[in-house]
């Protein structure tokens, strides 16, 4: 049988080469899938990756989608580095959108510069609280955050569907499950006339250097990293494991909440059931493909956004199923995790019996 044997000293170069490698493998696998579907892989790649960027509108859409992905992934990466696995950013994103929409709905008809900042703040608080809940469950009841964050995501989506189907349903909306359209003071202004890209992209543009500064310079981020790398060393140094959990989950909740607020007050302009195209989950992939590094995340966020809009284009011009974007995302994560596994381990062929017998001895040796 073949087993994975840990490498003594994993190569740092290969760790950074793993994402490009995973991208190439994804493209190869995608080419095979296109061929099986009877489409020309070259044409498909053109539609996916080149065509969207030939027009200003494509670039606008790219940044519009990359912005929330990058913002959420920055927050997630902070926790992932501390080995706090928040996989419920989708729920925190929805809570952020809900809270921001609440502000927009109850201030409808008013004017004032403060409405939009209040919505962003409400989104941050909503997302932050949705992250704080699993932190509380983890620190007080030792409930695994991977499960609680994921499950709270479902709670958030049911909360959303109750709100848009009940109290917040647009009275003039012919019973569609959606809120009123937000008025202008409750919306991010477009950056360029006629394009959907809005000024919320500047929040992300500001967040990236802030996260970079935080990660590379702050004592707090150092403590988080020690807690993730060597929990016993963190205990030895007196760094609080509880605080690590609280900070990781609240920060990632806040970034997801802000992204949700920006989505509701941006391209969507109202609270609807289909508010999120799965940004909260895609951001997990963005964080890992970006190697949890603030700059790497920018690059991987752009890539994932391209896959999103390329997928939309392929649906239209090549009649490919809409699941194709998800397929790409899934393959990318799969190949990346696979490549990572081979950075840390090597394949070794050994007879099973021998392996079982000598494993204990080998660990000694």
């Amino acid at each position: 049988m073949q087993i994975l044997e840990p490498r003594g000293n994993p190569s740092q170069l290969m760790r950074w080469l793993a994402p490009p490698l995973a991208i190439m493998l994804t493209l190869l696998a995608a080419a095979a899938i296109f061929a099986l579907l009877g489409k020309s892989p070259l044409q498909a790649f053109y539609v996916f990756f080149i065509e969207p960027l030939e027009y200003a509108n494509g670039w606008s859409e790219l940044l519009l989608k990359a912005s929330p992905l990058i913002l959420i992934a920055q927050g997630l990466a902070l926790g992932f580095r501390a080995r706090v696995y928040n996989i419920g950013a989708e729920g925190q994103f929805l809570l952020g959108a809900i809270c921001a929409s609440g502000v927009a709905i109850y201030t409808d008809g008013m004017t004032g510069w403060w409405i939009l900042p209040a919505m962003v703040l409400a989104g941050a608080i909503g997302g932050g609280l949705w992250g704080a809940l699993p932190a509380w469950l983890k620190t007080h009841y030792n409930a695994e955050e991977t499960l609680t964050t994921l499950m709270l995501g479902y709670v958030a989506s049911y909360l959303l569907s109750w709100l848009v189907g009940g109290p917040w349903r647009d009275p003039a909306g012919t019973n569609f499950p959606q809120s009123i359209l937000f008025s202008e003071p409750a919306m991010f202004a477009p950056v360029f006339e006629g394009l959907r890209l809005n000024s919320s992209v500047f929040i992300t543009a500001l967040a990236v250097p802030l996260f970079w500064l935080f990660v590379s310079k702050s004592f707090m981020a150092y403590q988080l990293a020690v807690g993730g790398e060597a929990p016993a060393a963190a205990r030895y140094a007196g760094f609080s494991a509880r605080r690590t959990v609280w900070v990781s989950l609240i920060v990632s909740g806040v970034t997801a909440g802000i992204a949700g607020a920006a989505e509701a007050a941006g391209p969507v302009g109202q609270l609807t059931l289909s508010l999120s195209p799965g940004y909260g989950f895609a951001a997990i992939i963005v964080a890992w493909v970006g190697r949890l590094h603030p700059v790497g995340i920018v690059l991987s966020g752009l890539l994932l956004a391209l896959i999103y809009i390329g997928g939309e284009a392929a649906q239209v011009s090549m009649q490919l199923p809409s699941a194709i974007s998800w397929l790409f995302q899934g393959m990318l994560l799969f190949f990346l995790l696979g490549a990572d596994a081979f950075v840390d381990f090597r394949l070794k062929r050994r007879p099973l019996k021998l392996w079982l017998k000598d494993r204990a001895k080998e660990q000694e040796a």
């Binding site: 310079k217 020690v226 790398e229 060597a230 030895y236 140094a237 021998l354 001895k361 080998e362």
Partner: protein, 511 residues
């Protein structure tokens, strides 16, 4: 193929000819030859890193030599894996036992055997072998309830059941009381008298002089001498082993004020885990200017006491006092703010973060230095400067401040961690197993460092399994056994014999 042996006498049980093993960047064994006769107790003496372990792994089939020959009872052999070694009749007792806590003695032994057997017959065999060789063992006892000495017996009996012609023991006495060491030696002599050859790996000179017929001394992967250890002095063996005189520590008298700095009063800790130790009414006082040692075998409450002292485990506020102030309820970081420094037994993963650089690891406890942290931001430049100072002052051999902690040898990492803690100018310094796995030169340096900071007015507490070390540097020595700490007595008023009895005290009740 057989290699003809020139003198037509009895062939050696095992002979190694010109064995060389290279690893990337290092020659672990360089042209090593040695021969063990039937019934001979043969020492392999050397420091950590001298190549002893690699050589034993080659003999036991865990690694393959790049060059050279192995001759077993006159026949050249190739030992592909440990199973092949066992088939030839080679048994090995590892330094770290490989037993399952939740299984009985006989079940553990059964796991290592090949072929069919039934547990009842095996239990009878275990009892027979253990009685024959003075290794009393109850085959039905669960391993977790055994003392360390008894666990070692399980390992030895497991080897003996396979009727070995050669038994390899790797640092077998590192966890034994002086009394248990003597019993082990009796067993080994009996085995040798029956013709079993013994390879005895150690760095303890006195033991080797007492027990062994021959000694092969290794340094830096090479054989530096082969001798009859009974004809040598400890000093002459040490010269062969480390290439110079054995360094000695100097303990000047302390003239400062003798006030208690670290006090422990009625510390209890009930451990829920049945495989871990509890603490019962531990009392201790360490004064400024003195080194107090706690002897005892790990697993008797050492880890629990250290966690309670460092703050990784909190307790009643007045159970631990620093300079008279209760700190039992404070966590590790808060106790450091009050002047506590701690060097844990696990250097990688607890005392240092393996994947981080030395500069980053310097920050782990040194972030309290005001110039290193301002407004929540850390100064990487200053951290590098301080780490460089630590490396220079404590003679840490490494590739500079950006070397990953895991790239350092055990001794150098220990020097770095001790240096980092000393540079915090603590009032209390607690050190666990200061020289575990550290070579002789670095050990002497570390011991002298501890003495020096004590004499500068720091209260130093050392927890160690090495009695010789404690007698070398401590002013007072106590014993932690079964979770109870004996009153530390001045070094001059006790000896290894007495300490050894205290170490065994509660264990023998349990056995």
């Amino acid at each position: 193929m057989s290699v003809p042996l020139s003198p037509p006498e009895i062939p050696p049980r095992l002979a190694l000819w010109h064995v060389t093993k290279r690893y990337p960047g290092v020659v672990a064994n360089d042209d090593v030859s040695l021969a063990v006769m039937p019934g001979e107790i043969h020492a392999v003496l050397g420091e950590n890193g001298a190549g002893k372990s690699t050589l034993m792994k080659i003999i036991y089939g865990a690694v393959q030599a790049d060059e050279g020959h192995l001759v077993w009872n006159g026949q050249e052999v190739r030992i592909a894996n440990p199973a092949a070694a066992r088939h030839l009749g080679i048994g090995m007792v590892f330094q770290h036992f490989q037993l399952f806590d939740t299984l009985t003695v006989v079940e553990n032994i059964a796991l290592a055997l090949e072929g069919r057997f039934d547990l009842k017959t095996l239990a009878l065999q275990v009892r027979a072998v253990s009685e024959k060789y003075g290794l009393p063992l109850d085959p039905q006892r669960l391993v977790h309830s055994l003392s360390v000495g008894e666990r070692q017996r399980v390992e030895i009996v497991r080897c003996l059941l396979q009727n070995p012609q050669l038994l390899i023991l790797d640092e077998p006495t590192s966890v034994l009381t002086p009394q248990a060491v003597r019993k082990l030696f009796d067993t080994l002599r009996q085995l040798a008298s029956e013709g079993v050859s013994i390879l005895y790996i150690s760095h303890k000179l006195d033991e080797i002089r007492e027990l062994c017929d021959r000694a092969t001394v290794m340094r830096g992967g090479k054989v530096t001498g082969e001798t009859d250890p009974r004809q040598e002095s400890a000093a002459s063996l040490a010269r062969m082993m480390i290439g110079r005189e054995l360094p000695v520590c100097s303990a000047p008298p302390y003239h400062g004020e003798r006030r208690p700095v670290l006090q422990v009063q009625g510390l209890n800790f009930r451990n829920e885990d049945p495989f871990c130790a509890s603490l019962f009414d531990v009392n201790l006082s360490v004064n400024a200017g003195e080194v107090v040692g706690i002897a005892g075998i790990s697993g008797n409450g050492q880890a629990e006491l250290l966690a309670a002292l460092s703050g990784e485990q909190v307790s009643r506020p007045d159970a631990v006092l620093i300079e008279g102030a209760p700190v039992g309820h404070l966590h590790a970081g808060q106790r450091r703010n009050r002047g506590l420094a701690f060097v844990p037994e696990e250097r990688l993963g607890r005392g240092a973060v393996p994947a981080m650089t030395l500069a980053q690891n310097y920050l782990l406890t040194a972030h309290r230095q005001p110039s290193l942290r301002r407004h929540g931001l850390i100064s990487r430049t200053r951290a590098r400067e301080f780490a460089a100072r630590c490396i220079e002052r404590f003679d840490v051999r490494c590739n500079g401040v950006l070397a990953a902690a895991r790239s350092l040898s055990g001794g150098n990492l220990q020097k770095f961690i001790v240096g980092r803690e000393v540079m915090q100018e603590p009032k209390v310094m607690i050190v666990a197993q200061p020289t575990w796995g550290v070579d002789v030169g670095a050990s002497a340096f570390l011991r002298q460092t501890l003495l020096d900071i004590a004499r500068s007015g720091v209260a130093v507490l050392v927890i160690s399994e090495e009695l010789e070390e404690l007698f070398e540097i401590c002013d007072r020595i106590g014993v932690l056994a079964g979770g109870r700490l004996s009153e530390p007595v001045p070094r001059e008023e006790t000896d290894a014999e007495q300490i050894g009895l205290l170490m065994a005290g509660t264990q023998q009740q349990a056995a």
